[in-house]
Amino acid sequence: MSIDQATVRRVAQLARITLAEGEVAHLQGEINAILSFVAELDGVDVTGVEPMTSVLPMRLKRRADAVTDGGIAPLIVANATASEDHLFAVPKVIE
């Protein structure tokens, strides 16, 4: 399977990565090289094989549904480019 330039642009949009126009053809080539590399899997019969969804045969542990921390708003926003009153600040979303 190979992808066209429109698909490259659509995937970049989904991934929220702005592409420069000159990058599209290059990325198309690289992505198609990787897709052709993984096409080797087409020949494998996986009928009746369960997907591996857990590395180890174990149940995910659960804990009590209780508050375990909090009151650290200054720490949470400490690395933000823009914050006000312990809130993250972003460009206006609603017109």
């Binding site: 399977m1 992808i3 698909t7 490259v8 995937v11 970049a12 989904l14 991934a15 929220r16 990565i17 702005t18 592409l19 420069a20 990325l27 080539g29 690289e30 992505i31 090289a33 990787i34 897709l35 590399f37 993984v38 096409a39 080797e40 899997l41 494998v44 996986v46 094989v49 369960e50 997907p51 591996m52 969804t53 590395v55 180890l56 174990m58 995910l60 542990k61 804990r63 650290i72 720490l75 949470i76 926003v77 400490a78 690395n79 933000a80 480019t81 823009a82 993250f88 972003v90 460009p91 206006k92 979303v93």
Partner: protein, 501 residues
């Protein structure tokens, strides 16, 4: 003790514990070596003030008779581990200047046990790479060179800074992480020991995520014993990581030097790949002979789905990465590049903040997870994973205790030699290591000899889940049988003495 940086971790531990050596002296020697080795670009951030303060506290604990297992021992930390109050970049522009307000569980266990932090080690961006060349902070350089050549070699990746720093005696040991071979391949390239433990053995909490079902923490060291000591402090159950396993941590160091008589070693024919250099095959044969001489029994085994592990990995890992890296949007931390609206801000931030290899993998991952392709790619790859793991389970059920393979298909290559326009050439470096991540098993790389170009080569031991002790025992046999590997003189340093073993 004239050359404190040439001590092994175990030797330094014993000297500090018995008060023959202070942590202050040991730490100062390593800080000097680190400062003199900047041409290697092994560290992204140096933390000398913190190191000396930690060393003084360690010396005070030794004086009070409260020495921990790693008391006063200077270590390097891969810059993928979050360190409280110290910049953590993951080798990426998008995290430049990020100062975590918390400490990763694994590094906190090292400090609990008395270790000293020298600084944060270089790596491929978000651990995506096999040569350390995708780092935003420039490539780490191997201390190794071909005799008579000044050409720079890669230390491997993604834990290239860890491997270079340990090999060049800038730290006694280092933390690293391994998603497809990122501990074992750089260890093999630099003549060091690296172990990726069983998935779940070490907590992933506070380690910047790449591919969560594959990522695992582990050490890079100069000896097998040192790796066992490090893993003993790094491993253990952590309620903050739901995939962390609640099994007691054994005394790994006790396994070093244990008898391997009667152990059954599997040799998988599928690892004898087309175009493999004869010297790799010869090294493998030597490793088999050394283990036989130590009383192990060697049997041929089949792991028929081996060749599908790498292509399946390049679906699973990018898919998980595209999900994990969605958090870098310029809002809560890291780089922000403005745009006309919030969507353009996201796009501009991620375009500028991520390097080419990371963008490529996010794109692949986004594609294989997108509507209509999920079953054909991701679900299929997860089924292949079941088949890869089943191969190993069959071998273990047939009585195999561990599996011996080459660690890498070649010795270290030159800076700028691979990658570029052909990502697959770089990916093939992980052909022998990636199966282990796909199956969640422990794997260890141990130096076993030199190539025709006098560069280190490693052998890999693969074990049953949670049987790291078997790997330490077998690796020690190989390490004792292999010829001594002497690092070239310290060309990178105007002041440090030549390193000898």
């Amino acid at each position: 003790m004239s050359d404190l940086t040439s001590l092994t971790l175990a030797e330094a531990r014993d000297a500090v514990r018995s008060k023959r050596l202070s942590s202050r002296e040991l730490t100062e020697a390593h800080l000097a070596a680190m400062a003199a080795a900047r041409p290697l670009n092994a560290f992204i951030t140096e933390t000398p003030d913190r190191a000396l303060a930690m060393a003084d506290r360690a010396d005070a604990r030794v004086a009070r008779g409260e020495a921990g297992p790693l008391e006063g021992l200077p270590l390097g930390i891969k810059d993928l581990y979050c360190t409280e109050g110290v910049q953590t970049t993951a080798g990426s522009r998008i995290l430049e200047g990020f100062v975590p307000p918390y400490e990763s569980t694994v590094s906190s266990q090292l400090w609990r046990d008395g270790a000293v932090m020298l600084g944060k080690l270089n790596l491929d961006e978000f651990a995506m790479g096999s040569s350390n060349e995708t780092s935003y902070f420039g490539p780490a350089v191997s201390p190794w060179r071909k005799p008579g050549s000044n050409a720079g070699l890669v230390p491997g990746g993604s834990s290239g800074g860890s491997a270079a720093a340990v090999a060049a005696r800038l730290c006694l040991a280092a933390t690293a992480t391994d998603t497809g071979g990122s501990i074992r391949q750089p260890a093999a390239f630099t003549g060091t020991v690296g172990i990726k433990p069983t998935y779940g053995r070490c907590s992933r909490w506070g380690v910047v995520a790449f591919a969560s079902s594959l990522d695992q923490a582990g050490p890079i060291t100069r000896t097998v014993r040192d790796a066992a000591i490090m893993l003993g402090s790094m491993a253990g159950h952590d309620p903050k990581d739901s995939t962390s396993v609640d099994i007691a941590v054994p005394d790994y160091e006790a396994a070093v030097g244990a008898s391997v008589a009667g152990k059954v070693i599997g040799i998988p024919r599928e690892y004898r790949i087309d175009g493999m250099p004869a010297e790799i095959d010869a090294l493998w044969a030597e490793g088999i002979a050394w283990l036989k001489a130590a009383g192990a029994r060697v049997v041929d085994i089949a792991l028929p789905h081996t060749k599908y592990a790498l292509p399946a990995y390049y679906i699973v890992a990018p898919a998980e990465a595209s999900s994990n890296l969605a958090r870098y949007d310029g809002v809560r931390y890291g780089l922000r590049v403005p745009g006309r609206d919030i969507a353009e801000m996201y796009g501009n931030t991620r375009a500028a903040g991520f390097g080419a290899e990371v963008r490529r993998r996010i794109m692949i991952g986004t594609y294989v997870l997108s509507a209509g392709y999920y079953d054909a790619y991701y679900l299929k790859a997860q089924k292949i994973r079941t088949l890869v793991r089943r191969d190993f389970e069959t071998a273990f059920a047939d009585g195999v205790d561990a599996i011996l393979t080459p660690a890498t298909p070649s010795a270290a290559f030159g800076l700028g030699e691979k990658g570029g326009d052909d990502p697959i050439a770089m990916y093939l470096n992980d052909a022998f290591t990636v199966t282990v991540n796909m199956a969640g098993l422990p794997g260890l790389s141990v130096p076993a000899g030199l190539s025709a170009d006098k560069l280190p080569l490693g052998l890999q031991l693969i074990g049953r889940p949670f049987e790291e002790e078997t790997l330490f025992a077998l690796a020690e046999v190989i390490a004792r049988s292999a010829p001594a590997i002497d690092l070239p003189s310290a060309w990178w340093s105007a002041t440090a003495p030549a390193a000898h073993r």
